[in-house]
Amino acid sequence: MVDRQGSTVHDLSLKDKFVDLILRARDSDIWYSFTRSPTTMIAALVTAIIMLSALFAPWVAPHNPFDLATIDLMDASMPPAWMAEGDSRFLLGTDDQGRGILSTIIFGARISLGVGLASVVFALILGVGLGLLSGYVGGTTDAVIMRIADIQLSFPAILLALLVDGVARGLLPRDTHDELAIYVLVFSIGISGWVQYARTVRGSTLVEKNKEYVQAARVIGRPAVLIMLRHVLPNVMGPVLVIATIHLALAIITEATLSFLGVGVSPTEPSLGTLINVGQDYLFSGEWWITVFPGAVLAILVLAVNLLGDWLRDALNPRLR
């Protein structure tokens, strides 16, 4: 890979850097603890399957539930394939409009995961940025940011999301709102989650900024912004990854809750939460599969992501090693 006996310092090419990264990852404690935990491996597998099928939904799903040309009302309300009136074309049955449940779940997971990931990324960037600033600069900046965080923390996430959605509905015309529903959702879930990142990063930054390598960078004359980004940030990201994983599960649940309450994505592009909401109307007429299968997928997805988060937390915690 690289010449260790050489007499000059080598600059690694991009490919070498990649190989180096893979080799280091394979030797790392994290990979070791991953291979020692069957639960985690199963959780990772389940998450990967759901994520990949959501990502490649148009190729994975047996039907496109949103293509009106392929939907036939004659197929409506069929039970799962293994039951007496089932049809082999629809493994998990169909809903009242003849859409295959399996296909709607795959497309729905796409929305759920997309909204979940986007709001985690949004909260992460906002929270990490503010936390870093707060911890490194200190003083009044720190006090202002942390008081805002305290105030925000006294509102439950769902309430905040409902509030943002309500304001957006009031401000935007109905058509625009339906178009922008996903973005409003991402914003409201993201805004309710940044505090945790900010607090964690602020705490770690307070520790890191007094370490001598940060002072060395100051003596060298690096501007504060670059010290924050290049020196402090990489050293405070460990706990952030753990929070992000657990937050992803929470964000998916919050999205499902909001969609279930009818303030989430529009029913024309249903997420898992919308599907559960729509399906529960048919629960008492015996068509249980419309709501049970999306619910089961949601539960499995959230459980798997949570298990991954728990493992990551333990693997990165030096006290538990």
Partner: protein
């Protein structure tokens, strides 16, 4: 302040340097509990000169403000009062930002803890190249790599070590990397804050010899902070003894070690283990360092001093020159202590 033997203008000149740290309770507590503001007088009026090519050591017990002086000089802390002149240019609190920016690259710092002073996520080559990149000494990637290789060889490491991470090295090797990083910025003046106190004795000697060799080769000037008198005797040309934020005595190394004048200096030197078993009479180091928040009146050393008199308790002594030896002590001034 010139000691007579050195007629050249000093490289670094510190005059009346003061740094207080605010340790007051929060405003609300102060209002309700009627507390006063309180300050730690970490550095309380220090003056000294360092000539080009010299090694000036600051010694003293833990908490006497040695490290604070180091941090004030490199600009990690802002002084509360006083002045710092580098090559005759003011870089202290009253300086112009441009002067500070112009002079700061001439000085670099080596830190105490080699385990905390290198960013664990950076490769050694990036750590050492940082000052070169920040100061834009070289812009070509290959030139930078070649320079880093050269620096690594200079401090006794292999250029191939550059692509490893800090955790792959021992304490002594890390301190070598630290030194290489400091040298990368091409400084004239190095502030070394206890660079060997975290190392094994055998490794200490290696690092000290390396620093001495680099000083001879590159004409560096050192400000050396330490509590280890054996190390100080080995490396310095001049020594300053600090007690509770003040310099109590400073002189040429030989003079100070052979003929210590201040009672505190004598106490410190007596604390060096006597391997020759000469059986000489020693005054043990007695008592604790008083709190710098509320230092004793008069001479700060009087509660521990065997020669203390009423004047010592009332009046703070000023440093006086006795043939190039500066001593701040009433007893020495009055001829009571010889």
């Amino acid at each position: 302040m010139n000691n007579g033997t050195n007629t050249e203008a000093p490289l670094l000149s510190v005059d009346g340097l003061v740094r207080y740290f605010d340790v007051s309770a929060p405003l609300l507590n102060r209002l309700i509990e009627r507390l006063d503001r309180s300050f730690v007088k970490a550095v309380d009026g220090i003056s000294f000169d360092i000539g080009r090519g010299e090694t000036f050591s600051l010694v003293g017990e833990s908490g006497c403000g040695k490290s604070t002086v180091a941090r004030l000089i490199v600009g990690l802390y802002q002084p509360t009062a006083g002045s710092i002149e580098y090559e005759g240019v003011e870089i202290g609190p009253r300086s112009a930002a441009a002067d500070r920016k112009r002079m700061q690259p001439h000085m670099q710092m080596i830190f105490q803890d080699p385990y905390a002073s290198l960013n664990p996520r950076w490769r050694v080559v990036d750590i050492i190249a940082e000052p070169i990149r920040v100061r834009r000494l070289l812009s070509n990637k290959h030139e930078i790599l070649a320079r880093v290789g050269e620096l690594l060889s200079q401090v006794g490491l292999s250029p191939a070590d550059g692509e490893r991470y800090p955790h792959e090295f021992s304490g002594g090797q890390r301190q070598r990397i630290s030194i290489a990083r400091a040298l990368a910025g091409e400084p004239e003046f190095l502030v070394c804050d206890e660079p060997t106190s975290a190392l094994d004795v055998s490794v200490q000697a290696q690092i000290l010899n390396l620093m001495k060799e680099l000083q001879d080769r590159l004409g560096l000037t050192y400000l050396f902070i330490s509590h280890d008198l054996a190390v100080v005797y080995h490396v310095s040309t001049k020594v300053g003894v600090m007690y509770l934020g003040r310099l109590v005595e400073w002189a040429e190394t030989q003079t100070l070690f052979e003929n210590p004048r201040h009672p505190y200096t004598r106490m410190l030197l007596d604390a060096i283990p006597d391997l020759e078993m000469s059986g000489r009479q020693r005054i043990p180091v007695a008592g604790e360092v008083p709190s710098p928040i509320n230092p004793p009146s008069g001479c700060a050393f009087h509660p521990r001093c065997p020669h203390a008199e009423d004047r010592c308790r009332a009046e703070a002594p000023l440093a006086q020159n006795y043939d190039g030896v500066y001593v701040a002590c009433h007893g020495v001034a009055e001829g009571r202590i010889t």
